[in-house]
Subunit: 243 residues, 2 copies
DNA sequence: ATTACCGAATGATATTTATCATATTGGATT
DNA sequence: AATCCAATATGATAAATATCATTCGGTAAT
């Protein structure tokens, strides 16, 4: 065979990988849109893809930050253990988000944990290399900054939203979050437990369960274990806004 | 006069300013440490200093983002008006913080307001110029990113802290925040009203007042209007950690 | 001087949420 | 099949917080 395609190069460099689908992956992510084909090839040579099963820990609080990590497939939660040992969920990340959220440029180690809440695939690139790219390619640095800003912006604003709502409003909020932002449909399987919902919205597990049951009795949602169907979207949105 | 110092140049370019003390100002800020003297002079020519009195609005939610703004002197609050018209305070910024927090790179307009809670001075530089600098100077971009990350990181983690505490712990938290991070002393004048404390910690004004009174009765703090003196630091820290 | 208003303060009461107790279910393990 | 354990579920009660009412003092406006 005479023609040596980029895929073949990748396979040579990353023998444990059967393919490097960065082209698709990165194209879909606005973040990387400006990277030239050459740079793309580079990334394919140096990146590592990692697969995780639902429940697997991707990053543990306190881990040294070695890689720049972004989510190619799946869904993850960012969480932090508080002094009294309780977990608090900071946010969720979906594909093309950076798992490496804020701390990567301001800290040596992660201040939060990242856990797969659905089967997930990450792309890992050594942080040194990303920093190097940023220093040699100001457009890249700008785009990176923009994306990091967007992500954190969203976390801060979302937290504010939740803060001003009561129990029912918070439950409505997270149901609509999964429905609108993650799954894009009215029926979906909750990727997290009632306890994790509680850890995210800052209420107790019992009250989360009770409220979901209320919504069911009020015929706003249907519940089959983790499967949720939003029946009365309008009312759920009203509850989100006005309790 | 033969010698034409940089200060004279600045005065010529910015006739409304009597001096351009960027050298000091910027040196103190880690962010700008890498900028060469030449770049410094440039900034002096293009920046604008603005003075605000306590209570003045620096940025209104929805304003177009035109400038990169950082705080040279004073103290400001970042806040957002929620759908039902209530203000929520996101965070406070002290000198050498960026007032232009997250949104500057990810949005066309501010998603929050910025208000002086002490007499303040800002340095404003057209955003285009800063973006240009970032594109031509990758180190600058990296430092900028690092600083933005640090700031937002802090907001997110601080919010988590507050979220897991009860009323008394939240009050202890904010008192110690002002004492430790802003003023560096055990007695200080609260820069904000009881209502604003409530808007920050997410409780009602009445409960803020009641709790402060409790702390006074328990001889943990002394209160003279807005003047606060922390008398029993140890106990206040215990309350912050364990309620 | 008078009025009006806002921040601070306090108490009584109502509402919201947490805690505790107890079942039930379903999955994993032996 | 038996056992264990975690998640889900529900009710009763306790605790935390909000709401409402009222007062006091300062200060800005008329």
């Amino acid at each position: 065979m005479v023609f040596l395609g980029s895929k073949m190069i990748e396979q040579a460099m990353n023998p444990d990988k059967t393919n490097c689908s960065c082209e698709n992956c990165l194209l879909k992510s606005l973040f990387f849109t400006h990277i030239s084909i050459d740079a793309l090839t580079d990334i394919c040579e140096i990146k590592q893809e990692r697969e995780y099963n639902k429940g697997d820990i991707i990053i543990s609080e306190g881990d040294k930050i070695k890689d720049f990590i972004y989510l190619k497939e799946g869904l993850v939660k960012l969480s932090k253990k508080s002094a009294d040992g309780k977990d608090q969920i900071i946010s969720f990340s979906k594909p093309f988000d950076f798992v490496s959220l804020l701390s990567i440029f301001s800290s040596e180690e992660y201040k939060y944990s990242v856990t797969a809440i659905e089967d997930s695939v990450t792309c890992n690139i050594a942080l040194d290399i990303v920093k190097n790219m940023a220093q040699n390619n100001a457009m890249f640095a700008m785009n990176l900054m923009t994306r990091v800003s967007e992500a954190t912006d969203h976390i801060v604003l979302d937290n504010l939203e939740i803060k001003r709502k009561h129990l029912r409003g918070r439950i409505a909020h997270i149901l609509l979050y999964f429905s609108d932002h993650i799954y894009g449909r009215n029926e979906f399987e909750l990727p997290i437990s009632r306890r994790e919902i509680a850890e995210y919205i800052g209420m107790t597990t019992e009250n989360v369960i009770r409220t979901l049951s209320e919504f069911r009795k009020d015929k706003i949602i249907k519940i089959y274990g983790k499967d949720i169907e939003i029946v009365d979207l309008k009312r759920l949105k009203t509850i989100r806004e006005h309790g």
